[in-house]
């Protein structure tokens, strides 16, 4: 039990840390996600230096200003390249914390006219790191909403099917199979097509996420049905029935709590799946629209062959998703182990 808890610790800590960063994206991001800079389209990740052209070592890292960046390294004879030191806790573009408080504090930044693009910039000169952090809010929210929706319907359908059995069970499970057989991507195309063209980005987004969550209920429902089938046969359920307990009471107090561990694991597994679904949808232009960033929006510029072949840093958001998903799956795995080790 203890070792399982310890095993659970690192994915949970990593997830919590990432969520913190994403929650306070405005603070960790050096720039606003929508601010364009036409002078620096597709700028590569900014190099951070400790040693200047003259060979002097600086304790405070610095970047080179515009105009001479890039050339400066090679043509060190040029005297005009000016270092701009990296500063911690600077004031910059205003942003909202929790949609209420306005702040201008940023974790790091450089003085104008220098720019710092740790992950490069996109075609409009927008900082990719800032867009990635703000985009994480939307993509993770999408994953979370969809996962909670499908698990919520799953627990309802699976709980009822497993508990009552008989024709209700048959009906719900055959219905679930129908949903499993749905080609969901094309269904979403149809849903988007059925919507009016001009509705707000947020409405489209929430609607598509909801549809995604709603059609994904069958898998969690099957899982929960299985747990409920064995849970309802336990003697303490029978004993409570002997005291005159109603079905609602039995489900709430004795049967469904036995499914919580499975549910938690299921949500942890579903979030990355739905995040990927958001990425796919937005990549195809169905999800979040400009100027709102999301992981799908960040990657959608890769549709252009010139971007794909010339600007390698545009792949960075996709690379960053890998460790994140690994953490999610590790957390799901650890939760499953923990749930196995709880004796019932």
């Amino acid at each position: 039990m203890l070792t399982q808890r310890r095993k659970l610790a690192w994915p949970v800590v990593a997830l919590a840390a990432f969520c913190c960063v994403v929650l306070f994206a405005g603070f960790f991001a050096p720039y606003d996600f929508a601010t364009q800079d036409r002078d620096t389209p597709f700028a590569p990740p900014t190099a951070i230096h400790f040693v200047d052209a003259g060979g002097t070592f600086h304790i405070r890292p610095f970047v080179y200003g515009p105009g001479d960046s890039g050339q400066s390294a090679e043509s060190s004879a040029q005297g005009s390249d000016q270092p701009y030191p990296l500063r911690w806790f600077v004031l910059g573009a205003p942003y909202k914390i929790a949609c209420v408080f306005t702040s201008r504090a940023h974790l790091f930044g450089v003085a104008r006219p220098a720019r710092i693009f740790l992950m490069g910039s996109d075609g409009y000169g927008r900082d990719q790191l800032s867009r990635f952090l703000y985009g994480s809010q939307i993509s993770l929210l999408a994953g979370l909403i969809a996962a909670i929706l499908s698990v919520a319907i799953g627990i309802l359908a699976g709980g009822i099917a497993g508990y009552y059995g008989g024709w209700i069970d048959e009906l719900l499970m055959r219905g679930g199979e129908l949903f499993l057989a749905l080609p969901w991507l094309y269904l979403l195309f149809a849903v988007r097509a059925a919507l009016p063209l001009h509705i707000s980005q947020w409405q489209v987004f929430l609607l598509l996420i909801s549809v995604m969550g709603l059609i994904g209920w069958a898998r969690p429902a099957r899982l929960i049905r299985g747990v409920v089938l064995s849970a309802k046969e336990r003697n303490f359920v029978l004993a409570a029935r002997g005291f005159g307990a109603s079905d609602a009471y039995l489900l709430r107090r004795h049967v469904l709590p036995q499914t919580y561990a499975v549910l938690l694991t299921q949500i942890t597994l579903l979030i990355p799946q739905y995040v990927l679904a958001e990425v796919t949808l937005t990549f195809l232009g169905l999800g979040v629209g400009e100027p709102m960033p999301s992981w799908g929006a960040l990657l959608s510029s890769l549709q252009q062959y010139s971007v794909l072949s010339s600007y390698w840093w545009m792949f960075l958001p996709a690379l960053l998703l890998i460790p994140l998903f690994v953490v999610f799956y590790a957390a799901a795995d650890a939760l499953q182990e923990l749930h196995k080790s709880v004796p019932l």
């Binding site: 003697n235 029978l238 029935r241 107090r253």
Partner: protein, 280 residues
């Protein structure tokens, strides 16, 4: 059908009268839609008088547990009637049945599966009161603590969960829970089978005390004739879903009629003689 012993307490109204009770399970054949009926037990008639103990003894598969569940109102019987304190249970409305459940409680064989591992001892013992809508939360807790004391559990353990108790203590929690609603009939479905010998004796002693204090009747279901003989007023021997012999305990030991009863008694005696030989 064996009429059973009528000698003791003949003037009293019986607490429980079971007549012609039967239970059939429908079992589906594999790879087929036809169902076959399997009799768990059939044509069982029993009476229990207030404050008395009736033991039902038989091998596993004899239908004892199904009988216990039918009498405890956990499963409907296929035919026959169960009368509790003169009321035919089949004729009751849902609401009347709900309050009739206070009268009869079942104690399971395996206390660890009969107690929800997520709940505390206090919550478990107070649960019947909660379900029957009795008292406020603090009243229910006070009653639970009182019951814990009655069954020999330290009330300071109220926040412990079933897994933190030993097997004997868990069975005490289950007994406390069964007593919460003040039943008149307790059904012990192999309630001692999972305990070691020392705990069996302790729980038997506790049950005897409770019987005297609350004038409880027990229906004690067991495969262990030796164990119930120390405890029961009457013994009914069950075989293949039928009661083959039903007598007062002394009569059964003195003059067993059915061949199966003799076999059971012989096995008890052989165990006793082996033990005697060893100690000699």
């Amino acid at each position: 059908m064996n009429p059973g012993p009528r000698s003791n307490g003949s003037q009293l109204e019986p607490l429980l009268r079971v007549s012609g009770l039967g239970k059939q399970y429908l079992q589906r054949r594999p790879f087929s839609h036809t169902k076959i009926a399997v009799d768990a037990f059939q044509d069982v008639s029993l009476t229990i008088f207030p404050g008395k103990t009736l033991a039902v003894v038989g091998e596993s598969g004899a239908g004892k547990s199904s009988l216990a569940r039918c009498i405890a109102l956990l499963e409907p019987a296929t035919n026959g009637t169960v009368e509790l304190a003169g009321t035919n249970l089949a004729a009751l409305s849902g609401k009347e049945l709900f309050s009739m459940r206070r009268e009869v409680q079942l104690i399971f064989q395996d206390p660890s599966s009969a107690l929800n591992p997520r709940l505390t001892a206090c919550e478990i013992i107070a649960e019947p009161l909660l379900i029957q809508g009795e008292g406020t939360k603090s009243q229910r807790r006070a009653r639970a603590l009182q019951l814990m004391e009655q069954v020999g559990l330290d009330p300071a353990w109220e926040r412990k969960r079933p897994l933190e108790f030993s097997g004997g203590q868990r069975q005490r929690v289950a007994i406390a829970r069964a007593l919460a609603l003040g039943p008149h009939l307790l059904i012990l479905d192999e309630a001692l089978a999972n305990l070691d010998a020392a705990n069996q004796t302790l729980i038997l002693k506790l049950l005897a005390e409770l019987q005297a204090a609350h004038s409880l009747s027990f229906l004690h279901i067991s495969h262990d004739l030796r164990l119930v003989s120390e405890f029961a007023d009457e013994v009914a021997v069950m075989r293949l879903g039928r009661i083959v012999e039903w007598k007062s305990t002394r009569n059964l030991f003195a003059s067993p009629e059915h061949s199966y009863t003799r076999e059971l008694l012989a096995s008890v005696r052989s165990v006793q003689s082996i033990l005697l030989e060893r100690s000699a």
